[in-house]
């Protein structure tokens, strides 16, 4: 019997040194996928490789345990790492747990930053590669399509991804609430700090018009301005340029405020009260926090921004419970579909087997009777059919019945064993004659 298996590691189970060794670069992923499905145990395969996780999802042909072992061995041999060295870092899921895992991953419930939006795109890319290299078949295709729609439901029906949870995103979100459109806004970057540069980058991609860069060492400003395609400004000319800046990002090493409340009051007067948003990432602070009291001036320091994202994170955590409920419901309904994929071919084979026996016995009986009378032939045939249908009715009904917590795989295996059905008949087309499915008379 085939089952879905996921083997992988993520930021929680493995340090970056291990993750980077197991990563599959995009340019060689085709080779990795092909090699994967060439394995005897594996029918379909998809590889997800991001900086936080590497996961191989396969449809294993036989026992799921064999599938897990095959994937683990493949991961080790592909990357040339001894298998037992990897074992402690790898986790694996099969059956319903695998379904749940992928749904949670795509919905960003398993991410380092809960609700972060990139993961869904990465899962979609992984699926895209597998589709491109034809290593995805009907089951994984349905599985991933479902995962995307679950992720969409989680995103639209809960607030798990609704508010910024990084300092630079929070800064952009705030800027948008203050200025509306950022299209005609100018950013002033004072000093050079990693966080400020990141925020500047986010603001640029949010569409600000221009950026000015100033630094105590002018050369540094020139270099940074080049990087941002902005204008360098000499530090002692900051005062004259400040009035043209709408958003000010500051992180200098100055031991005292470089902009006092009076300075800001002066600038805002010259600007005729056009709003200014100061983002002060420096410790000790660059901008007098009291400037926040001035109308149309907003001053956020690093703690303020951290508080904002902390509140947002708490809200996400609350929303995550609702998201998990959505996922749980979807897992059940998908798994039911998956089970029906095993049950249908078994029923078909079971029926075909009995039909063969019946046809042979009927032919034998008619030969023995030697009757040319069409009526006799008809009676024998309908007798055989009636017995067949009545005998088969209870097991087929039992197979089709939907019972929670029932292990369908085991049941199907039992039926196959009892009636000596072939192991690999699963891919044959379903019953050709729908009439046969009905209870006959």
């Amino acid at each position: 019997m085939s089952s879905i298996v996921i083997v992988g590691l993520n930021h929680r189970t493995a340090p970056v040194e291990v993750r980077e060794r197991l990563a599959f670069p995009a340019d060689s992923i085709g080779r990795a996928l092909r090699g994967l499905v060439e394995l005897e145990e594996i029918a379909e395969g998809i590889i997800l490789s991001t900086c936080n996780r590497v996961e191989v999802c396969v449809l294993a042909g036989g026992d799921s345990y064999k599938g897990v072992t095959a994937v683990k061995e493949y991961l080790a041999s592909y990357h040339g790492i001894p298998g037992d060295e990897l074992n402690g870092f790898l986790y694996h899921y099969d059956g319903e747990a695998a379904v749940k895992h992928l749904f949670r991953v795509s919905s960003s419930l398993d991410s380092m930053v809960l609700g972060e939006p990139q993961i869904l795109g990465q899962v979609k890319d992984a699926y895209g590669f597998a589709a491109e290299f034809r290593t995805v078949g009907p089951i994984l295709d349905k599985f991933y399509t479902k995962a995307f729609s679950v992720a969409k439901r989680v995103r639209t029906e809960t607030k798990v991804a609704s508010s910024a949870v990084s300092v630079s995103y929070a800064a952009v979100e705030l800027a948008k609430k203050i200025f509306g459109s950022l299209k005609d806004k100018t950013v002033m970057l004072i000093g050079a700090g990693e966080m400020c540069e990141l925020a500047a980058r986010h603001l640029l991609s949010a569409g600000v018009k221009g950026i000015m860069v100033t630094n105590r060492t002018f050369e540094r400003a020139v270099k940074l301005a080049e990087e941002f395609n902005g204008t360098p400004v000499r530090f002692d000319e900051l005062g004259t340029h400040l009035k043209t800046a709408d958003i000010i990002l500051s992180s200098t090493g100055a031991p005292h405020f470089i902009l006092k409340k009076e300075d800001v009051e002066e600038v805002i007067r010259i600007r005729k009260n056009r709003p200014m948003f100061f983002i002060d990432m420096a410790v000790p602070r660059d901008i007098d926090p009291d400037a926040n009291q001035i109308d149309n001036v907003y001053v956020y320091d690093i703690d303020d921004l951290n508080n904002v994202i902390e509140t947002n994170l708490e809200e996400r955590q609350k929303e995550a419970a609702r998201a998990e409920e959505i996922v749980a419901g979807e897992v059940r309904s998908f798994f039911r579909w998956l089970e029906s994929q095993q049950v249908t071919p078994t029923i078909v084979m079971l029926r075909r087997k009995f039909e063969e026996v019946k046809n042979a016995e009927v032919a034998k009986a008619i030969a023995m009777l030697g009757a040319e009378d069409p009526k006799t032939k008809k009676v024998v045939e309908s007798l055989a059919s009636a017995i067949l249908n009545k005998v088969l009715h209870p097991p087929i009904t039992a197979l089709k019945k939907d019972v929670d917590g029932r292990d369908v795989t085991e049941l199907v295996a039992t039926v196959r064993e009892l009636f000596d059905l072939p192991e690999n008949g699963g891919n044959q087309p379903p019953a050709p004659d729908p009439q046969n499915e009905k209870e006959g008379g």
């Binding site: 508010s163 203050i178 200025f179 509306g180 009260n273 303020d304 904002v308 509140t311």
Partner: protein
């Protein structure tokens, strides 16, 4: 027939307002869209009722408290619908629709009977003077709503705790722009309304200006908005200050319209509660 029509619009405004309130809580777009549909149907029925009453009564029905409150509610809804269309700002409805409903229900509790028109009101100045003022006032009602939204959002950003309000209300910039736009539309209407009233007063009462309480309060209102416009254009008053003035200005409008009628007797006492 027209009385029933005018009063039934109150129900539409109520449902519209409730749907917009439901929207601000749940953020379900569908609710806001449905709310807007109710307001549109309400305002269309309202206009039909207004025209119907015009023909039934033989004068423009803006002479007593029932009629003027009703017309004011209709104007607010109409101005809101235009603003919403222009700024794609559904959430504004959560503030304006309840306001329009309040005037509408106030009107619905007044007697809707058609009375004989006071001779002094029998003039073609009546529709011009009163409609200019009410439409202007409705524009200021939208500025009032935007002003409240501005103050709420500004407080949220200033105190740095970004909660439900922060997420629901639009940017400070767009709220300030609505404030300004309403001022540039409302102020000329208000000015023309007062000028036409003054000309009419010369015809009717023989004097352009007689410091009757309504005239005095109109002037106070006008001065408030004139100050806001002046401040905006010269020294760049905006944001919080402009929002507060828009709120104060609308309170002055309400007092001029209702307070003066109910509390201060004068020449303009056509719309007292008994009327």
């Amino acid at each position: 027939m027209h009385i029933a029509l005018l009063k039934v619009t109150t129900a539409f405004y109520l449902v519209g307002a409730l749907l917009y309130l439901y929207f601000i809580v749940t953020l379900k777009e569908k609710s806001a869209k449905l709310g807007r549909m109710f307001l549109i149907i309400g305002v269309v029925l309202h206009a039909i009722g207004f025209v119907g009453r015009y023909f039934a009564a033989g004068y423009t029905p803006i002479t007593n408290l029932f009629e003027s409150l009703s017309f004011f509610a209709m104007s607010i809804v109409a101005v809101f619908l235009v603003t919403e269309l222009r700024y794609k700002l559904r959430i504004l409805g959560s503030f304006i629709a309840p306001l329009a409903f309040a005037f509408s229900i106030f009107s619905a509790f007044q007697s809707g009977d058609v009375a004989r028109l006071a001779p002094a009101l029998n003039s073609y100045w009546l529709p011009i003077h009163v409609m200019l003022l009410f439409i202007g006032d409705a524009v200021f009602a939208v500025a009032f709503g935007a002003g409240i939204m501005y103050l709420l959002q500004e407080k949220e950003v200033k105190r740095k705790r970004l909660g439900a309000i922060f997420k629901r209300l639009p940017s400070l910039d767009v709220l300030d722009e609505i404030n300004y736009r309403c001022l540039t539309v409302g102020f000329p209407l208000l000015t023309l309304g007062i000028i036409t009233g003054s000309i009419w007063a010369e015809y009717a009462w023989g004097s352009y200006w007689s410091w009757d309480p309504k005239e005095t309060w109109s002037l106070i209102t006008w001065l408030l908005y004139a100050a806001l416009l002046h401040g905006r254009l010269t020294v760049g008053w905006r944001g919080r200050k402009a929002a507060i003035l828009a709120i104060v200005g609308f309170c002055a409008i309400l007092f001029t319209f209702l307070g003066v009628n109910l509390l201060l007797p004068g020449l303009h006492s056509y719309t007292s509660l008994s009327g």
